[in-house]
């Protein structure tokens, strides 16, 4: 066991902004957001870690190719020696396969080896094949903890608790981190000879980071075996040009089932992954072949087909998952079916781009494993968490019940997939500013979430044609350029989406926003405070169980509605007092009858507007609580009515305030139009931003207008008597 150092996690930065946002109303919060954003930016850690920490890597030059399966006799055999056990294992095989295995077993007893690593160490030329016979391979000689020089390697310790070793150090001490290490071997094929992957099991028993590591192993081919129970990845392919993962099962890992990184010419086929705390499949930083291209690309770096990934935190995880062709797979019973992102620094190939998802079945990804984080199960050592009994310790904070998340990716295409049965969104898209991934160049800051296309997918229909709707079909934060969706999507947020035309990148109703909608941005910020290590599940985020009034969106709406509602009532009361001074009465201010009539008309406008406004404000809270985009739009329309009525009523006597109020009403109308009917083109910020900021100013102005004044001196008209509101 390598000596583990306690992770030196810096104290959590908790910007004061967050507490502010929770308590304040939406108007106040939105006003505060820009001011506090600078604080938030300054609180960013100066240096951040990788999604997984690894030595500096170089992408292959792309001169390799996807290896083909060799079917000839193996060069090396691996088996155990218990004949009775072997006979039991193969007893149920089809006759021909049983005979083949019995023949290989006799040969293996004579000149084979007992551990996979022994066979790998005997590989002395490119193009060799290792046949591994049915059995459980615990690789006992590789299990020992590092000793001697291997325990004192001069290498940096990552905050994850392991050392970042160079390739040479991996060669020097192959079992510090790996149960089986394939280092620098070319065109090696490792094939299980059983009837299925479960007949050959490489079991790391949580003793190593990786069960099998193929490092700079161009042309490696894995077939028909299982790798399981590690503290990071079961099967790890690194800096390799040409690999195939064929009928391999990986399960019960802290992080990933399959991790292929900085590699090209890869193929995953007929694989399965479950029980992983991050992605079952993680093709990270594949060769960035198509960087700078549009939708027309010459080839993809890695193909994933006919795989099943289920019962993981994420079925598929693609930080810098570039140039991927993912088709005919099933992603189900995870928390999220698939994600791709540009969130983590240090990954070659960011921002993520050009993943093409076609003909996949993505369904019922509704698992919620955060209960294991809450109850302390995940605080135990990995070996004691109970992964084999269905426990998953999610390393990621994500919205359970989601089909596909794109967190800052470009030129991704989702076509002809079937997506059904999610309690959240089928497709979830949001932007990620470049500095989050460590990119400091100014002109790159808004370079994600552009030109993603969602077209021809079958949404909310089960395999038998039955209706299995998703909670909503699309959740988009509104940021980005050139994104589009298919016509006919069901519930979406926003309700109005750009529609894909027949040929990429054409679309209609598009927008090009620099920033996400403000409330969505606030929510993403809050939810991102998740920490697996600290078991911190942000209250207020519905990803972690908040609902109704407990959600941050509802609290923002409620706070804003209370502030605005109070002002509405005060304006109504003020208007009432003014109108009660009848014409002909010896009014204290000596107001003329014509002006009194005008005041009464103003009062009627204020009353009508206030009724609309109060209804709209109440509806806004309800809409946030039940997460209904249409209701939120209607609420905006009602509030617009209030502001327009109020503005018209006060325009004559309070010209500046009246204009401000009318402007706010018009902006609310524009916001509602933007959400419900069609995204307003050209504008770089959604109307919600401008409305929110203006509403903050309006609240201050309204307070000034409503503020009590000293009693007027005798003979002077009272100002308030002239103002209906």
């Amino acid at each position: 066991m390598p000596p583990l150092r306690p992770s030196s996690r810096p104290p959590s930065h908790r910007p004061p902004l967050r507490a502010l946002l929770r308590r304040a109303g939406s108007v106040a919060a939105l006003t505060a957001a820009l001011t506090a954003a600078l604080t938030g930016a300054l609180l960013l850690p100066a240096g951040v870690a990788l999604a997984h920490e690894e030595r500096p890597v170089t992408l292959p030059d792309g001169s390799g190719s996807v290896p083909a399966l060799r079917t000839g006799e193996p060069d090396l055999l691996v088996c155990k020696t218990d004949q009775a056990d072997f006979a039991r294992r193969v007893a149920g095989f089809p006759a021909e396969l049983r005979e083949r295995n019995l023949t290989l077993f006799r040969r293996c007893l004579k000149d084979g080896v007992r551990h996979l690593q022994e066979a790998v160490d005997k590989v002395d030329r490119p193009g060799m094949t290792i046949a591994i016979l049915p059995g459980l391979y615990r690789e006992e000689p590789s299990q020992a903890a590092p000793a001697g020089a291997c325990a004192r390697l001069p290498a940096r310790w990552s905050t994850w608790g392991y050392q970042i070793l160079t390739f040479e150090q991996q060669r020097q001490c192959p079992h510090n981190q790996n149960l089986v290490a394939i280092l620098g071997k070319k065109d090696l094929q490792i094939e299980g000879t059983g009837a299925g992957p479960l007949d050959v099991i490489v079991d790391a028993e949580y003793r190593k980071l990786n069960a099998i590591r193929a490092d700079r192993a161009d042309g490696v081919y894995f077939r028909n075996l299982t790798a399981q129970r590690t503290t990071f990845n079961s099967l790890y392919v690194l800096e390799t040009d040409g690999f195939v993962i064929d009928r391999v099962l990986t399960r019960w890992n802290d992080e990933y089932g399959f991790l292929t990184f900085a590699s090209d010419h890869g193929l995953y086929t007929d694989c399965e992954a479950y029980g992983n705390g991050d992605g079952g499949l993680y093709p990270g930083s594949a060769s960035n072949l198509n960087d700078g291209r549009g939708h027309d690309v010459p080839r993809y770096a890695i193909e994933i087909r006919r795989c099943r990934s289920h019962d993981n935190a994420l079925g598929y995880s693609g930080t810098a998952g570039d140039s991927m062709w993912v088709h005919d797979n099933e992603f189900y019973d995870n928390m999220v079916g698939a994600t791709m992102d540009s969130l983590w620094p240090g990954h070659p190939g960011l921002p993520q781009n050009h993943a093409r998802f076609e003909n996949n079945k993505i369904y019922d990804n509704n698992r919620d494993y955060y209960r294991h984080t809450r109850d302390g199960t995940c605080a135990k050592p990995p070996a004691e968490r109970g992964y084999e009994r269905g426990v998953v310790c999610s390393q990621v904070g994500v919205p359970p019940g989601t089909g596909v998340i794109v967190a800052g990716g470009n030129y991704n295409v989702f076509r002809n997939n079937q997506v059904w049965g999610h309690r959240g969104a089928a497709f979830h898209l949001f932007g990620v500013p470049a500095f989050i991934r460590g990119e400091t160049r100014l002109h790159r800051q808004a370079d994600t979430s552009d030109f993603n296309r969602y077209e021809g997918n079958v949404l909310g229909v089960g395999p038998g044609g039955e209706r299995r709707p998703n909670g909503r079909d699309v959740w988009w934060d509104g940021q980005g350029t050139g994104n589009c969706w298919q016509a006919g999507a069901g519930r979406t947020s926003p309700a109005a989406l750009p529609l894909c035309a027949a040929k990429a990148p054409e679309l209609s109703g598009g927008s090009g926003r620099w920033l996400a909608e403000p409330v969505k941005l606030t929510k993403l910020y809050l939810c991102a405070d998740f920490s697996a290590q600290a078991a911190r599940l942000p209250a207020g985020c519905d990803w972690f169980g908040a609902s109704g009034l407990g959600k941050v969106e509802t609290q923002l709406a409620l706070g804003g509605s209370l502030v605005l509602g109070l002002l509405a009532v005060l304006f109504w009361a003020r208007a009432g007092r003014a109108a009660r001074r009848r014409p002909g009465d010896p009014s204290p201010g000596g107001v003329a009858p014509a002006r009194q009539e005008r005041t009464r008309r103003g009062r009627r406008l204020v009353v009508a507007g206030t009724v609309l406004g109060l209804a709209g404000l109440a509806l806004d809270v309800v809409a946030a609580a039940v997460d209904d985009t249409l209701l939120a739009g209607v609420a905006l329309l009602l509030m617009a009515g209030w502001w327009l009525c109020l503005g018209a009523a006060v325009l004559r006597d309070r010209r500046a305030f009246g204009r401000l109020t009318v402007a706010l009403g018009v902006l609310a109308l524009a916001d509602a139009y933007d959400r419900l009917v069609r995204l307003i083109p050209v504008i770089p910020l959604g109307p919600g931003w401008i409305r929110g900021l203006l509403a903050g100013v309006w609240v201050l102005a309204a307070v000034v207008v409503l503020a009590p004044r000293r009693a007027p001196a005798a003979g002077k008209p009272a100002v308030e008597a002239e103002v209906p509101a």
Partner: protein
């Protein structure tokens, strides 16, 4: 100028954007084990359900010591036959009715527990 404003706005506001700490701070401990994952004292038990062709929890791994009693309880939504390989224990599964197969683990090795008609591997029993 337009670009500068755009960049400034993004940087400023994204300060409160989606900054997941998930991987900025390491997740749960990756502490490696020094001994084989132990079975539980008493009976080695697994409770498994089969619904719509899906196994819950997904096909598992049950550690047992030689001589220990193993009990596998299965509830299926369809009629099927349960079979423990190696030990050749079988049991009829009736829809919705839990059935327990109990046996003494006298053979060492890895043994699949499966359903014959639907061909599902429910768990593997690893006897040391």
């Amino acid at each position: 100028m337009r670009r500068l404003i755009r960049v400034a706005a993004v940087v400023l506001v994204a300060g409160c954007g989606p900054l997941s700490q998930t991987h900025h701070n390491p997740g749960n401990s990756h502490e490696v084990a020094t001994v084989p994952p132990g079975g539980r004292a008493g009976e080695a038990r697994a409770d498994i359900s089969v619904r719509a062709g899906r196994v819950s929890p997904p096909s598992g791994w049950l550690e047992a010591r030689r001589g220990q009693t193993v009990a596998v309880t299965v509830t299926s939504d369809v009629a099927d036959e349960l079979h423990v390989h190696g030990y050749d224990r079988t049991a009829e599964l009736r829809p919705g009715q839990p059935v327990t197969v109990r046996f003494r683990a006298d053979l060492t090795g890895v043994f699949e527990v499966e359903t014959h008609r639907s061909g599902l591997v429910l768990t593997q029993v690893a006897v040391r």
